[in-house]
């Protein structure tokens, strides 16, 4: 059975990295509050507690993004074809992200967009499907082989990648379950 993590804004990550066809069969989806490593890196970055220009920091961000997205093309196909939790502006955010990776330009900044995304979206069965792939124009199968390099090659690309990863895999602004106040 294919296993997935479901993040607060509805994005899925495959835990097996297996073939996409797995999503059509029986699946085990575990809802998670965030990816803790991305959460820490984002807090360090936003709190200016770290110099984001250093390789030590960049390396940590790149490694986490690489692990979370895995094969970026496949990850995108998963959201478009196999994820009924992503629709509306949450899907628009993915289109805008792909545009940024390709051109270095977003229609809306990540911070503005994050305010608009649905959190804990309901599943809309039948929303996902191959028709949604058209908006991503994924004809070139090798295009995103070096997606991190493409992303970071744009001006403020590294910052965009970290903020995007936090929106996709970070905590909700209104968590369903309160965070523990004591460890």
């Amino acid at each position: 059975m294919a296993r997935f993590n479901l993040f607060p804004r509805g994005y899925l990550v495959s835990l097996d990295g297996g073939p996409l066809a797995n999503v059509a069969g029986p699946v085990d989806i575990e809802t998670v509050t965030s990816n803790p490593k991305i959460e820490v890196l984002y807090k360090l970055y936003m709190g200016r507690d770290v110099n984001p220009e250093t390789w030590a920091f960049r390396r940590r961000v790149i490694m986490e993004c690489s692990k979370l997205f895995g094969n970026f093309r496949n990850w995108l196909i998963l959201q478009a074809v196999g994820n009924d939790y992503v629709y509306g502006l949450n899907l628009e955010f993915l289109r805008d992200t792909v545009q940024f990776i390709r051109t270095g330009h977003r229609n809306m900044s990540v911070l503005s967009m994050t305010e608009l995304l649905l959190e804990h979206p309901d599943k809309h069965p039948g929303t996902a499907g191959p028709a949604r792939l058209e908006a991503f124009d994924l004809r070139d199968t090798r295009e995103f082989d070096n997606f991190i390099g493409m992303w970071c090659s744009h001006e403020r690309g590294f910052d965009d990648m970290l903020c995007t990863a936090h929106t996709l895999f970070g905590v909700s602004k209104s968590p369903l379950v309160p965070f523990p106040t004591k460890l």
Partner: protein, 297 residues
């Protein structure tokens, strides 16, 4: 602003660093909060035939005054203008480095330096106006095509209308090619232009020699930081916060217009527009109050 009153209104002294910091702030404002939304706006609506009457008139007047060739409506024109502004910022920064000493003294300032200062003020103003007119115009368009748009504060609308002519003239000045503008500035005589002597300079050399770019046709002071001893950090912070909110407002309204034209609505987006508009109204009211207190209109 005419050279005489402009020089008289300058602070007795300030530092070159203040000018360079102002250039850096403008570059940031342009790059982070203006160019991205202009690109998106031009991409989505740069060829649009406007529906709202005020926007239509503005578009026509923009076309008549813009010194840069562009295709489409004024939104595409603003993008082309901003690319030129970006080049001109580099040019003016170079000239500040070359012509200004560490301390700038009003009584020893030269004609050329006064022109550089005025150029810088107009440049900052045009960047700001471009973004603010975009917020208003998209809001008007949303209303004109039958959508709902939260009320823009009356003060904001008045600011746009009051400064319209200054903008039209300002863009003619700062939209010029950087090499040509640089040459015009370098040809201004290095004659001292303190409040006592500037009248003589005008009579002797002629208005076109001392003000070749035509700053005299812009009747207002546009940036108080060279005129008033004030809390610059506070002023700049409010300007920056205002720019951030304006950027967000344009992004949200563009999205709203796009959804509306696809026959869709998004409750969260509308809620955020109302919230952002409220914050923007408050911030701009504070800036207006500061401008009124400091005598810049």
């Amino acid at each position: 602003m005419k050279l005489g009153p402009y020089v008289s209104a300058l602070l007795p002294s300030f530092t070159k660093n203040r000018l360079l910091a102002d250039v850096a702030a403008m570059r940031e404002e342009l790059k982070v909060n203006t160019l991205p939304v202009l690109k998106t706006s031009a991409q989505l609506f740069g060829k649009r035939k406007f529906t709202d009457e005020w926007v239509k008139t503005f578009d026509t007047d923009f076309g008549k005054n813009c010194p840069i060739r562009y295709s489409g409506n004024f939104v595409s024109g603003l993008l082309a203008l901003s690319d030129q502004v970006s080049d001109n910022l580099d040019m003016i920064e170079k000239m500040i480095g070359e012509y200004f000493a560490e301390d700038v003294l009003r009584d020893a300032i030269t004609l050329l330096r006064v022109n550089v200062l005025q150029y810088l003020e107009v440049l900052g103003f045009v960047i700001q106006y471009s973004r603010r007119v975009l917020v208003i115009s998209i809001g008007y368009e949303i209303l004109a095509v039958g959508g709902e748009s939260p009320t823009t504060a009356q003060g904001e609308i008045e600011w746009i209308k009051r400064h319209r002519d200054a903008f039209m003239h300002g863009m003619q000045i700062i939209g010029g090619k950087s090499d040509k503008t640089e040459e015009q500035l370098r040809n201004i005589p290095e004659v001292v232009a303190n409040p006592d002597t500037v009248g003589n300079a005008s009579a002797t050399l002629g208005e076109t020699k001392i003000d070749p770019l035509g700053f005299g046709f812009i009747p207002v002071k546009l940036n108080p930081i060279y005129h008033i001893r004030m809390a610059i950090a506070e002023w700049q912070n409010r300007r920056y916060q205002g720019a951030l909110e304006e950027r967000r407002m344009v992004e949200y309204r563009l999205m709203q217009l796009k959804l509306q034209e696809d026959g869709k609505r998004d409750a969260k987006l509308e809620e955020n527009i109302t919230y952002t508009q409220g914050r923007l109204n408050t911030l701009n009211a504070k800036i207006e109050k500061m401008e009124a207190e400091y005598g810049t209109v």
